[in-house]
């Protein structure tokens, strides 16, 4: 971990107005749009209210975009010659990865934090413990999507890879049950997609595995996810993304 590198690189990412607006601004706007339609805030959902639920959903989306984009950009830059420049310095590959992960997690901290602040100002309610645990889960599980960004970048090897990854993220977030409550067959398919696990975990402090289902009348009949199934989802996808990235790197080394 090199502090100078961390500081200059983070500043560079934040200065990229277009990217910052999408990653930090867009989830906040989406929360304000979806969250404020949730009524006066007296609707209790699990251990918090409906605004809180929408807030966590959008924070998951924003934090995942942040890590996807930082990791994807880092991989592309490495392929395009920055890796050779770094290889002329004492920085090790491990040092580079640790520094970049720190930058990505700092960025996703800001992305999730912005949505949480918007939530706090506009009626999201829950106990202090639910707030803190939810935030930590949103923030840390976003690390999975650093692997996703890495895998896509290694597969496509061009600057458009990051756009492909962030566009794909919209679809995955939909399947991750972040935008509209899914039910029936759709929900059963969605359970196997990569955003689903981290969304379920991020909502755990509030929902304890319960899934909002507007097709049934009472909350008691809502479907449930078990904690181990959500954790398994995250672990399996971490292996898949990590595996793809590693394979692609090995393949390109051989052909160099």
């Amino acid at each position: 971990m090199n502090f100078t590198y961390f500081r200059i690189d983070l500043l560079r990412q934040l200065r990229d107005i277009g990217n910052t607006a999408i990653i930090i601004g867009l989830p906040v706007i989406m929360y304000l749009v979806f969250g404020s339609t949730g009524g006066s805030g007296d609707q209790v959902v699990g251990s918090a209210n409906e605004q809180f639920y929408v807030m966590v959903s959008m924070a998951v989306y924003g934090a995942a975009m942040a890590t996807t984009s930082i990791a994807g950009i880092a991989a592309i830059e490495r392929i395009q010659g920055w890796g050779r420049q770094l290889a002329l310095t004492p920085m090790t590959s491990t040092g580079f990865v640790v520094t970049k992960v720190t930058v990505a997690l700092t960025y996703s901290f800001f992305a999730a934090g912005a949505v949480f602040i918007a939530g706090a100002l506009t009626g999201a309610e829950g106990s202090a413990s639910v707030w803190i645990r939810s935030f930590l889960l949103v923030w840390l599980t976003s690390g999975l999507f650093a692997l996703f960004g890495l895998a896509i970048a290694q597969l496509f090897k061009s600057e458009s890879a990051v756009s492909i990854a962030t566009a794909g993220l919209v679809l995955l977030s939909f399947l991750g049950n972040l935008f509209v409550p899914l039910s029936g067959t759709m929900l059963n398919v969605a359970r196997f997609t990569p955003m689903y696990g981290i969304s379920g975990l991020a909502r755990w402090p509030q929902m304890h595995g319960a899934i909002i289902d507007n097709t049934v009348a009472s909350m008691a009949e809502w479907p449930h996810d078990s904690l181990w199934a959500l954790i398994l989802n995250v672990l399996v996808w971490a292996l898949i993304f990590g595996g793809i990235a590693t394979l692609a790197v090995t393949r390109s080394r051989k052909r160099q």
Binding site: T4, D16, P90, Q256
Partner: protein
């Protein structure tokens, strides 16, 4: 005995070809020893194996066979201690960073933050230090990479076609900056496919082609071998040259053309530095180092027209050098 700066022994590097089955021999048996303080050019066309060789010197790739020693140790060790640094081919800077930030970032990795200002000044980047790297010209980007290479105060500098894609002005400026560093006794090896760069800058030239060394000799010898210019012109007395003849007023007519050619060629052959004179139709072809004197003679006394002077191509240099090598 002093430890050589760089010692390559029986160096080979093979890649699987892109099509799949075959093997590409990028480097096919290179032996070369470079002593401390030497400035050596690796001259060769694209795909000659120059970059692959330098990549092994920098420890970016491992040789398939043979050994690389840099200052008596492994390339990776020499690089991570900052004893060796490099200016790589175009590309490879981070977008969105300014020139100064880029220098600071790399200085941070080498743990020499105090050298930032000095290096920026020495490479003439002071005026553009707040410019974003992607807005810098090709020449400015290469100067920035040169600045990065100077940060660890390396004993050996490796330059991989540092001026590729630059115009003549930018190239001259780059080598001007480079020259100051060279005068401080650094060992410098650079890859280039510009003959002039090797001639101007390196006392020793290693000619590489097809992954092998074709010649390794003092650049002075190379200069005498390939310093010739070729001058060609149309002599008066034929259709194409008739206008020139009229202006001159020599009044050579067609019937006398043969004898006037003989007279002209013998006058040209008498010029100091002319090695060969021959006629191809009504064109006279002159090879040698006295291109200016020959051109003057042709255009004034001999009334020639359509004069062309060409410098030797890399191909002809190769030819001359490899022929020379075989003759030894």
């Amino acid at each position: 005995m002093n430890t050589p700066a760089i010692k390559l022994t029986d160096l080979h590097k093979e890649f699987a070809s892109r099509s799949g089955s075959g093997v590409v021999k990028a480097v096919d048996g290179i032996d070369v020893t470079i002593n401390a303080g030497e400035i050596v050019a690796f001259l060769g066309p694209n795909g000659a194996g120059k970059t692959t060789t330098l990549d092994m010197v920098l420890g970016f790739t491992e040789p398939t066979q043979g050994t690389v020693e840099v200052l008596g140790t492994s390339p990776r060790k020499a690089v991570s201690h900052g004893h060796v640094s490099a200016v790589l081919q175009t590309g490879g800077l981070l977008h969105g960073l300014t020139v100064e930030e880029t220098v600071k970032l790399i200085a941070g990795l080498h743990k020499v933050p105090e050298r930032v200002n000095d290096v920026i000044e020495r490479t003439g980047l002071t005026e553009i230090k707040d410019r974003k790297t992607q807005l810098c010209s090709g020449g400015e980007q290469q100067r920035l990479k040169f600045a990065l290479a100077l940060l660890p105060q390396p004993e050996i500098l490796v330059l991989d076609e540092p001026t590729a894609g630059m115009d003549a002005g930018a190239r001259r400026e780059f080598w001007g900056t480079m020259r100051q560093e060279a005068s401080q006794g650094k060992t410098i090896i650079f890859a280039t496919h510009y003959l002039e760069e090797a001639q101007e800058f390196a006392p020793r030239t290693v000619l590489v082609d097809g992954g092998k060394i074709r010649a390794d000799r003092p650049t002075d010898e190379l200069r005498t071998l390939v310093g010739d210019r070729v001058v060609s012109a149309t002599l008066p007395g034929s259709g194409a040259g008739a206008d020139g003849a009229d202006v001159d007023g020599a009044g050579v007519d067609g019937a006398d053309a043969g004898s006037s050619y003989t007279e002209a060629t013998s006058r040209i052959a008498a010029v100091d530095g002319v090695r060969e004179v021959r006629m191809e139709g009504d064109r006279v072809i002159v090879e040698g180092s006295a291109s200016d004197a020959v051109a003057r003679l042709l255009l004034t006394d001999l009334g020639a027209s359509e004069l062309e002077v060409s410098s030797p191509s890399l191909e002809s240099a190769f030819f001359a050098l490899t022929q020379g090598q075989e003759a030894h």
